[in-house]
Amino acid sequence: MPRQMYDKGKIVAGLVIFVIIATFPFWYNIGKAAPAPELKLTDKAKAEKECVMSVTDMKAGHMQLLDEWRDEVVRSANRLYVNSKGKSFNMSLSNTCLDCHSNKADFCDKCHDYASVRPYCWDCHIDNPKATEEAKE
């Protein structure tokens, strides 16, 4: 007896659905230019050259550093951070980080959007920290 496929319609339909789902990454991105974000540094950041940590460490670990800073400031009222090179910084997102990196949309948001990360830093720290600083004083 020749081998024969049973319920061919259903099997083929199911397999077509499977292939469509399994190849999602390949067809979803067709025709969409999706270059990796290029960071734009402000002149001030360029002039500074070195951030608090090295570029690789900042890329992978800036969220952890900010969290440590926050806890240190809020719980121990300690605002002094000394990095591995012995340089000291004021632990403050608004006044230290965003002082150089004042271009949030081009610096922070680009990568966060690309990697689909939504940090809640901005729930409190608004885009233009300088304005609030002046308002407080």
Binding site: D7, A36, K59, C111, Y114
Partner: protein, 343 residues
């Protein structure tokens, strides 16, 4: 010690060492980052289609009513419409319950002879609960990973991430920091569930007895995937933008090797690739197989409808009518009763 799980564990450790030294020592980034993942995706898709197509060549001519409720009979006997469906609609509901909620597993019970005499049926839902947690968590993890394979990230992936990260746990200790970035529940649930499924095979003696290396291997492999993923997210941080650049390169067929992404990423990638390659050849094919379970996807209508076996041999039948036609006169002569007096 059991040779089955030791064998599987060693296999996974060897895979880890291959990825680790292959990238760290030998610098085979292109092999582990591009060649193997592409091959794995190809083998997974082609192998999956091949297996399912192969199954479709097996005829299932008859209904297999291994059911769990009253079948359709007389109008005044209430039918269990979903547990013993007689219509396609009922079958669809039964399949949905099976595929999404593992209804068959929910029936799981434990039997014990109490005091050597009294048979008792014991409520046992742990396997169902952890199996459900495992599969759903795995699905969520897979969908979440689409953020690396789609640009812009679709809203439903972002929404799932929001739900998954709903519980915000953050705590800091001097040694390690947990909770940054935000904790995704699915990864942790996946790891806990897969550990449960493993321990079940180790500690329940009857299950242990029937467990083979091919049962332990996927469990260890998935454990490895979950652990390497969790490590990458919370402990040994990697440059996530670099990772996405790389995965997007794979998805758009313009692969390039990212710089400065740690070796742990390649370990994760090799584990996933091996899982994909292993998939079509193993019990993991139950992903496709569950839809083809004959005891679940056929309506129990054997009494209402005649199902004919397609490979029945064409038997020549000599019916009684033909017999009587042939011998009628001789039968009447001998005084035997006949149904018709003449042709």
């Amino acid at each position: 010690m059991n040779k089955n799980y030791m064998f599987s564990l060693i296999a996974v450790i060897v895979l880890f060492l291959i990825a680790y030294f292959g990238v760290e020592t030998a610098g085979l980034h292109v092999l582990f980052g591009i060649v193997i993942p592409y091959l794995a995706a190809l083998i997974f898709i082609v192998g999956f289609v091949y297996r399912v197509r192969d199954w479709a060549y097996s005829p299932v001519p008859f209904r297999i009513p291994s059911t769990c409720g009253q079948q359709a009979s007389l109008p005044w006997i209430r039918q269990a419409t979903y547990d013993n469906p007689s219509s396609n609609g009922g079958v669809i509901v039964r399949m949905i319950l099976e595929v999404l909620f593992f209804r068959s597993l929910f029936r799981n019970m434990r039997f014990e002879l109490k005091g050597g005499k009294k048979l008792s049926y014991i409520w046992e839902k742990w396997l169902w609960l952890f199996a459900l947690a495992f599969h759903w968590a795995f699905l969520v993890v897979v969908i979440r990973h689409l953020r690396f394979f789609a640009e812009p990230v679709p809203f439903w992936v972002q929404f799932l991430e929001y739900l998954d990260g709903f519980v915000r746990v953050e705590f800091l200790s001097d040694v390690l920091q947990v909770g940054l970035p935000g904790v995704f529940m699915s990864g942790l649930v996946l790891l806990v569930a897969v550990i449960f499924l493993f321990l079940r095979r180790v500690f329940i003696s009857q299950v242990n007895y029937i467990s083979l290396a091919s049962d332990y291997f996927p469990l260890f492999l998935i454990m490895g995937i979950a652990i390497s993923g969790i490590l990458m997210r919370y402990f040994i941080k990697v440059d996530i933008v670099g990772v996405k650049e790389f995965t997007m390169g794979l998805a758009t067929f313009s692969p390039s090797i990212p710089e400065g992404v740690g070796v742990i990423f390649y370990v994760h990638l090799l584990f996933v690739s091996v899982l994909l390659v292993y998939f079509p050849f193993s019990k993991l094919m139950h992903l496709g197989g569950v839809f083809l379970s004959p005891t679940r996807n056929l309506a129990n209508n054997s009494r209402a409808k005649r199902h004919i076996n397609p490979w029945n041999y064409p038997v020549h039948v000599h019916t009684y009518e033909e017999y009587e036609d042939e011998f009628r006169e001789k039968m009447i002569e001998a005084g035997l009763p006949v149904e018709k007096e003449s042709n």
